[in-house]
């Protein structure tokens, strides 16, 4: 099902610059309903509040990492089917495998381009 431009998207990253970059690209792609969280714990709390259709998350974050948040999402009956795209500098093969095992929907390595993000969103929402 193609992505609904009105769907609420959560961008989780401890770096404010990265949140702004992802938010800007999403806006250029037509997604304007975007919220932000600074770490996995804050992200999880927001997601459990409901209403989100998609998550873009970093890996390395304080308090709760992206992979921990992903596992928590998949363990929560209410939000376990939520698509999660990881955008991270963790470019090791073991990281990718760990993310796949945890149930990631797709994976982008930083630095990335707008085209890559668009392509991954198209793959998540065919």
């Amino acid at each position: 099902m193609p992505a609904d431009p009105a769907m609420k998207i959560l961008v989780v990253d401890d770096m404010s610059t990265m949140r702004r970059i992802v938010k800007n690209i999403l806006k250029q792609l037509g997604y304007t309903n975007v919220e932000e969280a600074e770490n996995g714990q804050e992200g999880l709390t927001k997601l459990q509040g409901g209403g989100f259709g998609f998550v873009v998350s970093d890996w390395n974050m304080p308090v709760m990492t992206g992979i921990e948040m992903l596992r928590a999402i998949r363990a929560d009956e209410a939000i376990k089917k939520l698509p999660v795209l990881m955008v991270t500098a963790e470019a090791q093969q073991e990281n990718l495998i760990e993310a796949v095992k945890a149930g990631v929907s797709n994976y982008i390595v930083k630095p990335f381009t707008a085209e890559t993000l668009q392509e991954k969103i198209s793959k998540i929402f065919p």
Binding site: T17, Q28, P111
Partner: protein, 241 residues
């Protein structure tokens, strides 16, 4: 037995000399170690400051880029309205306009192409008629379309600028790792200071190294740098306009 004892005493003597020499060396190293251990927290602070500086600079570039993007969106909207108005009043359309419309129709989805077959045929007929009559130059619609295209290419470049700014995140992550390493080294040095009872900075003269100078420069940059408005105020007092 006497030989064995003699050999043992000789070995013990050698060991005692070695221990004494090691302790002297450690004592010599005491001052640099205490100095370095006191410099490391400053170095870590400066590294963290570097992250903050790049973050602020990146946000400023992003703010300007976003302003350009918003401004482009407004201009493109106005140009599209103008192009639509020109399309209505410009007769006959120029060859380029007709061919462009044909290309747009061809680029559409198959089903739409089938639906628009008659329209496509009509447009191509018009194009061929206009070509026959002789193409006109200076078409306003073409100029508007060209402007919209140029702006949309600029928009792509603006997005590229935004994404290129992700370097800041990568720099920040590396600096964070470096800071962790510096804190770790600091901790180990402090352990050495405690274990061997090395004298602290206050009691020993500061060992001057390149790092000492660099840290002083960094400290001065942070503590005494002026904002431009303060510079201008001071210059104003000296009669500069």
């Amino acid at each position: 037995m006497a030989d064995t004892n003699g050999h043992l005493y000789a070995e013990l003597g050698e060991l005692a000399r070695y221990l004494d020499m090691t302790l002297r060396k450690l004592d010599d190293a005491g001052a640099p170690i205490t100095t370095m251990s006191s410099q490391l927290p400053q170095a870590a602070t400066h590294l963290e400051g570097l992250t903050k500086l790049t973050e602020e600079g990146t946000h400023e570039v992003m703010r300007l880029t976003e302003e350009l993007q918003d401004s482009h969106a407004v201009v493109v909207g106005l140009l599209r309205k103008a192009a639509a108005a020109v399309d209505k009043i410009q007769a006959p359309p120029c060859v380029a306009c007709l061919l462009r419309e044909s290309q747009q129709l061809l680029a559409q989805e198959d089903q739409q192409l089938i639906d628009n077959r008659e329209r496509l045929a009509g447009t191509l007929t018009k194009a061929s008629e206009t070509l026959t009559k002789g193409a006109n130059g200076g078409c306003v619609a073409c100029a508007l379309t060209q402007s919209i295209l140029s702006l949309s290419q600029d928009d792509k470049r603006l997005i590229e600028i935004m994404t290129a700014l992700s370097f800041q995140d990568l720099v920040a992550q590396r600096v964070k790792k470096l800071t962790t390493i510096v804190h770790d080294v600091e901790h180990k040095l402090l352990e050495l200071v405690v274990v061997f009872g090395l004298k602290h900075e206050g009691a020993t003269p500061e060992v001057k190294t390149d790092a000492t100078d660099m840290l002083k420069q960094l400290k001065a940059t942070n503590e005494t740098s002026m904002k431009q408005n303060l510079v201008d105020d001071i210059l104003g007092k000296f009669g500069f306009n």
